[in-house]
């Protein structure tokens, strides 16, 4: 990398970071400074006032939104994990007649946008009494976030030698034991990819939560945040920026910690596919 490119990239990075900096900065400004003109690029009196307001307004409903979203993330990660570990092992090590048809069917989910299935899904959730529940919403997340994970898990198990299963089988281990005791410990990078992929997709979802939940007790953080931001006559930008900052912290932490696995998973998905 030449010095010139380096400096150009550095300037570009500054532009990239300024949006995040501006939001974080505004969230720590005292209310009277938020709407001052010209805007200050630093603040002399950082305060937690906006956050205090964010977390105490309407019986701390914002914390409830965040809690709901953590539950949703946990549920959908768990369901996707079970489906793609069992399914991936079956497709790679125990192939049976017709299993490829099922695999193609699952992959076709990636081509069909769930945005076109909102009407029948709403009707289905209504019939199953799953509307406006965290569990119901997580089932939809799991279905539509699973194909990529199953695909990756299958690839990962396929890359492990067949002798692994055979020798364990001779030792008299059951199929379930071979999967969880022998194969899964070797597939931890793929597990990490699933965690970061499903976490980000669930935490950041807006449209599914908007449509399949209606009461504030089960709303996720994105829809809750939007309600918060639009519920007043004049937009309270200090509060909005505090909400934005708070809502991006979990995704940024998970992303930075597990970034390596996310990139690995995307990479194997895009080159092997």
């Amino acid at each position: 990398m030449s010095k010139k490119t380096f400096i150009l990239l550095l300037i570009l990075s500054l532009f990239f970071m300024i949006a995040i900096y501006w939001t974080v900065l505004t969230s720590f400004k005292p209310p009277e400074e938020v709407l001052s003109y010209p805007p200050g690029f630093i603040t002399a009196n950082p305060t937690l006032e906006q956050y205090n307001k964010l977390f105490t307004t309407a019986d701390s409903i914002f914390l409830r939104y965040a809690g709901n979203t953590f539950i949703l993330c946990g549920l959908s990660i768990a369901i996707v994990m079970i489906l793609s570990i069992l399914g991936g092992y079956s497709l790679s090590k125990l192939p049976f007649k017709g299993c490829n048809v099922i695999f193609l069917l699952v992959l076709s989910i990636m081509m069909v946008p769930y945005q076109s299935l909102l009407i029948p899904l709403y009707d289905l959730m209504n019939k199953l009494n799953l509307l406006d529940t965290l569990f119901g919403l997580s089932l939809i997340y799991a279905t539509y976030f699973m194909p990529f994970c199953l695909f990756m898990m299958k690839n990962y198990f396929s890359s492990l030698p067949a002798t692994l299963r055979e020798s364990a089988l001779i030792d008299g281990a059951s199929e379930l034991k071979i999967l969880f005791k022998v194969h899964l410990p070797l597939a931890m990078p793929a597990v990490a990819t699933i965690i970061v992929y499903v976490f980000l997709a669930t935490w950041n979802d807006f449209i599914l939560s908007l449509i399949f939940t209606s009461s504030s007790e089960v709303r996720n953080v994105q829809v809750g945040f939007m309600n918060f931001a639009t519920s007043r006559f004049t937009q309270d930008w200090g509060l909005i920026n505090a909400g934005a900052t708070f809502s991006i912290i979990p995704s940024i932490i998970v992303f930075l910690v597990l970034q390596k696995y996310y990139v690995q998973g995307m990479t194997s998905g895009s080159t092997k596919g």
């Binding site: 995040i20 399914g87 079956s90 945005q115 076109s116 909102l118 709403y122 807006f206 945040f225 970034q259």
Partner: protein, 291 residues
């Protein structure tokens, strides 16, 4: 049971949860949306088949064409804005070093942020009275009056696209990077022995070998822009005068505000078909069918 039967049985058993989930939450809704698109649906219960009436209604509906047009225009604007910088950055950051790793993280980071949070962050930057963008441009004397960035049709399309480019180009960059790193070094060595210039190497070696990856990144980004909802819902609310209302916003409105299930289903099916056709042509252009 023989060993082989036992193996088949466990294979089926292990795939069963996937089959159940996909059957209930994907296959069933897919069939249902096709059926209801041919029905007149009564909220009070009861429905009857009415042939292609919903489709005729959709295809003669001005708002359907308007929102479809809006979505296509947006896809045409935002795709190059994501794609060109992503390709350039991927080429520049191809070699793994400490600084290139750092820059990759910086450019990929906004991808972790939700569309909702990004929309509010940029709405604040674009704010006509207190926004930092108007402040900077006026103090540099580039504009004399503050601009209402999200108030005019074309301008708001471009401003929303800038936000989307900021948020998603890192993802395309990572996919393209993976493709670049898959090109063996020997090819470049051979080219340099033959005396190829840098621009020639890019034109005749990198781009052709990278085509499948580029097409994949393109499909993901075009399909993503066709599904646009969150950011227009928040940044422009479809305005001014519905000129930034996207097709998914319209489906949502017809189904969940007007409760016109038949029409909503027909538009959903049309949307699905359009998206499949667009992806199909991109795949063909990438030469996937020949390989």
């Amino acid at each position: 049971m023989t060993l082989r039967q036992k193996k088949n049985f466990s294979g089926l058993l292990f795939l069963l949860p996937v089959m159940i989930m996909v059957g209930i939450f994907f296959i069933y809704p897919l069939i249902r949306v096709l059926i209801t698109s041919f029905q007149e649906w009564n909220v009070m219960g009861g429905s009857k088949f009415i042939g292609f009436e919903n489709y005729t209604a959709a295809l003669t509906d001005d708002e359907f064409w308007l929102t479809l047009g809006n979505t296509i225009i947006y896809a045409l604007i935002v795709t190059p804005m994501i794609f060109v910088p992503a390709l350039l950055l991927a080429v520049v950051l191809k070699k793994t070093s400490r600084s290139s790793k750092f820059f990759r993280t910086i450019f990929f980071l906004p991808f972790a942020i939700s569309f909702v949070a990004s929309s509010y962050m940029w709405k604040w930057i674009y704010n006509d009275t207190y926004g930092i963008l108007n402040y900077m441009l006026t103090s540099l004397h580039l504009i004399s009056q503050p601009i209402n960035w999200l108030g005019e049709t074309w301008l708001s399309r471009i401003m929303v696209s800038i936000m989307v480019s900021w948020k998603t180009l890192g993802f395309s960059m990572i996919i393209i990077l993976a493709g670049l790193q898959g090109i063996p070094n020997e090819v470049y060595e051979a080219a340099s022995i033959d005396g190829a210039k840098k621009s020639q190497t890019l034109r005749f070696i990198t781009l052709p070998l990278l085509r499948p990856t580029l097409i994949l990144a393109l499909i993901l980004s075009v399909a993503g822009s066709f599904k646009a909802f969150d950011h227009f819902f928040i940044m422009t609310k479809g305005g001014p005068l519905k000129t930034t209302e996207t097709i998914v916003m319209y489906i949502n409105k017809v189904a969940f505000e007007y409760y016109n299930i038949g029409l909503g289903s027909a538009i959903s099916v049309l949307f699905l078909i359009i998206l499949l056709i667009v992806s199909f042509f991109q795949l063909k252009a990438g030469g996937f069918s020949n390989e």
